[in-house]
Structure formats: C-alpha cells, structure tokens
Amino acid sequence: MGVKESLFYLEDIHYHYRPGYPVLEGFHFELNPKDKVALTGPNGSGKTTLFHLMVGLITPNQGKIFAFGKQRHQEKDFLEVRAKTGILFQDSDDQLFCPTVREDIAFGPLNLGKSKEEADIIVMRTLEQLGMESYEYRITHHLSGGEKRLIALATVLAMEPEVLLLDEPTNGLDQAAEKRLLDILSALPQAMVLISHHFDFLDRIATRHTVLDKKGIDLC
C-alpha cells in the first residue's frame, strides 16, 4: 500500500541522540490496517525511539513521516496522530499519574473534548471490556504490576485509537497476568506494533515480523 492508504508510512528515517552515534539510519516502515507487526531487535536498536518518532515526541534528523494519509512535520500535526494512536509505555508508572483509576482512564477522553458524562460512560465501558469493572475507584499506586499494566492499557483504549503501539507489554508480568494480557490483546481489532522479546507471545499475535538491527534496516 502507499502513503495515502497506510496508517503509518515512514520513509528514510535517520535519528541520533548524539552526533556520530545513529540509532536509525535510512529506516523504512509501513503499517497498514489490520497489521499486527512484531518489532524485535537488540537493546539500543531504536525500537522505543521508533514509537516516539511515530507520535512526534521526537523529530527525525532526516526523513518523512506520514500518518493517517498526511505528512506530519510539527507538534501541531501530531496532536491528531496521538489521538488516533495509543502507546502502551514500558513502565506503567509513567502512564498512570492520576490518583484514581477512573480519572486516569477519563484523562484522554476529556482531553479530546468529551464531556464528564461521556467520559464516565467510556470509563465503565473500557473497564468492562477488560473485565475490571470493580477497579473504577481504586487508587492507582496501590495496584499490582499486572493490574497497572491492564489499567494503562485501559487508559489507551479509552481514546478509541486506530493504532496501538505496545512497548514490551508483558515485561515484568507473571505468567497469569501475561496470559490475561495476551488474551485481551489478541481480541483487539486495531492495527498494532508490538515490541517484545517473547517469541511465543509474538507468534500468537503478530502477522508480520520486523527486525531492527544495529543499523536500523528492515530485514523482513
């Protein structure tokens, strides 16, 4: 598919945190509807960097980013991209910053201009979807690691994204929590990119595999 039809289309991306130490060099990437892409590669190969580039948290030193059919240049262009793209961060403590679960889930919808009543409905619906209805008034920092990860996912799903970027979603989870997350993720209809080192996990979900090597070249 081309620039117009792809959800994300990244062309010749170069990025470095320090001059002379490139993380991505001439990287190409394409995400189409219904794609579930497994993204693997050694530490420091730029997997998380790629996610940050896709939603404009950082800007590439060179290259073009197309998202949802339009080229995106600056902060302003990326606001729409972020509304349609949900990132699940590696550390859920970074993502859950509100006192209660309810406020954390409502944060995104309220930012998108929903009313408090609508936000309340979204909170309940999202929690139901994950089978966590009783968590609405729980205090976020009292939750266990597995619960935090699921609630972080809920905060992302509450924005009804078209694309999900999941950064090591099963990292630090025990087997039971991992299985639960896996079941939830495989039932989600969105296009997604998954960073993980668990190959059996990726095999169950992914439809395509991209490897980032040190030079950041798409091998598959």
């Binding site: 940050h52 939603v55 948290l57 606001l79 972020r82 509304a83 793209t85 949900g86 990132i87 961060f89 550390d91 403590d93 970074d94 993502q95 910053f97 509100c98 006192p99 209660t100 309810r102 406020e103 409502a106 944060f107 995104g108 309220l110 930012n111 998108l112 408090k116 936000a119 309340d120 008034y137 729980r138 205090i139 976020t140 920092h141 009292h142 905060t155 992302v156 924005m159």
Partner: protein
C-alpha cells in the same frame, strides 16, 4: 490522608454505607471547619477553652474509625517536635517561682504557658487527623481545587502523592544496589561521596521519569489543561454538620472573648 503515605490500607474510595458519618461529610466542609477550629484554638488563651478543644478533638477521632492508639501516638509525635520548647519554657519565662535546679529557676507562668501550647497542639492535630487525615489524597486535592486553591498547587500535591511511593521504591532499589557490593556506611569521604551519588542519581531518575510521564500525557492528548472529575454536593447531613460545628465554634469563641 495521613495513611496514604503509610502502608496501603483498604483501597476503596467510594463512601461505603458503613463509613462513619463523619467521613461522609463533604471534604470541603471538613477542611474549612478544621482550619477555622485551628485558628480559634491557636488564638485562645483560657485553659478551659483549650481543654474543650482537646476534648472535641478526641471526640472527633472517636467518631472516625482511626485506630486510637496509633492516632494518639501520632499526636504525641507532633508534641515531640515542641518538647524542647516545653522543657525550656518554665526556665525562660519570668514569673512566680516554682522550683530551682542549681542556678536555673523554673516559674509557674512558664509551666502554664507550656501546658497551653501543648493543649493547642494536641487539639489542632487531633481535629486535623479526624477531619482531614481521613480523606484520601485525591479527595483532598479535589476539595482544595473546589475551594479555589490554585490549580498548579493542587496538581503538585496530587503528583507528589502519586509518585512518592515510586520514588521510595527507586531509592530502596539504589540502596540495595549499594549494599550488594558490601557497602557499609561509615563516617568517611567514601561514604559521603556514595550518598552524594545516591541522591544525585535519584534526582536524575526523577527528572527522567517526569519527562516520560509528560510524554505519556502528551500521547493522551494533554495540552496543558487538567480536567478533574467528580462533583461534590452539600446534602442534608452536611448541613447538620455545618450547623453543629458552627455552633460549637461560636460557643468556644464567646467563652474565650466575651
């Protein structure tokens, strides 16, 4: 709220039916009442008024489900701060002779002054623990926001409560990492340098975390405006509380100044 910083207790925020009536009173009213009460008590000088203040404080604590022993210990903990002043006051205030230790003479006036100050402290702390200490931090934050406290301060408070625990865990991780290679704190340069690194590292990590939290917020459409959920309404029970506490406060004021 005092328990938010301690070990994690019961995790529900919803006012359950068996919640003591005092904890179902609107948080804003509880905060305002305790502030007015604190001012009144601090400005009072008559012993009976101060004693009633402490009694009211005790009564309020009994009306909550705060563990009594722990609460009293906390209250005494506050007194510990002023203990030196209490010990020194009888010796530094001029007045009627009480007793002497060598060249130092203690006075009755000083003693009474010390009693007065500790009664004030105990009364105020007990009321605060009962009325404000039982609020969840988020309830407290919301109430402050609705009392028109600047939004930035409220959010600083809420963020602090949220990340205190994360920071503490980070501190313990670093501390364990220090202990692993057989580090034992001593009074030497190596120890000071190591602790310097520890706190610097904690600072750097907090800064990085702050950036990641901000990134995560931006990803969910944050553009600088916070939206707080939840409405607070004053109901019949609240009006009864306002009436009773208002009358008590006025009575104490009249007793003191008229």
């Amino acid at each position: 709220m005092s328990h938010a910083l301690g070990p994690h207790p019961d995790q529900h925020l919803t006012p359950l039916p068996e919640t003591p009536w005092l904890q179902r009173i609107d948080p804003r009213i509880r905060i305002l009442t305790s502030v007015v009460f604190a001012f009144l008590l601090v400005l009072s000088q008559k012993m009976p008024v101060l004693a009633s203040g402490v009694t009211i404080g005790l009564f309020l604590v009994l009306m909550t489900r705060l563990p009594l022993a722990k609460t009293l210990k906390r209250t005494l903990g506050v007194d510990f701060f002023i203990v030196f002043m209490l010990v020194l006051l009888p010796f530094t205030t001029p007045g009627d002779f009480w007793f002497a230790i060598g060249p130092l003479t203690a006075t009755w006036d000083g003693f009474l002054r010390a009693v007065e100050i500790s009664l004030k402290a105990v009364g105020v702390v007990l009321t605060l623990l009962a009325l404000v200490g039982t609020l969840e931090p988020s309830e407290f934050g919301h109430a402050l926001y609705r009392l028109k406290i600047p939004e930035k301060l409220v959010h600083i408070m809420l963020f602090t409560v949220r990340y205190l625990d994360v920071l503490q865990r980070e501190y313990h991780r670093l501390r364990t990492a220090m202990k692993a290679p057989a580090f034992v704190p001593r009074s030497n340069f190596h120890t000071w340098q190591t602790f310097g690194y520890l706190f610097a590292m904690l600072l750097v990590r907090s800064l990085e975390r702050a950036e990641r939290v901000h990134d995560a917020m931006k990803c969910r459409g944050f553009t600088g405006k916070f939206h707080l959920l939840g409405d607070m309404r004053i109901n019949g029970q609240d009006w009864v509380f306002i009436g009773l506490s208002g009358m008590t406060l006025v009575a104490l004021g009249v007793w003191e100044w008229v």
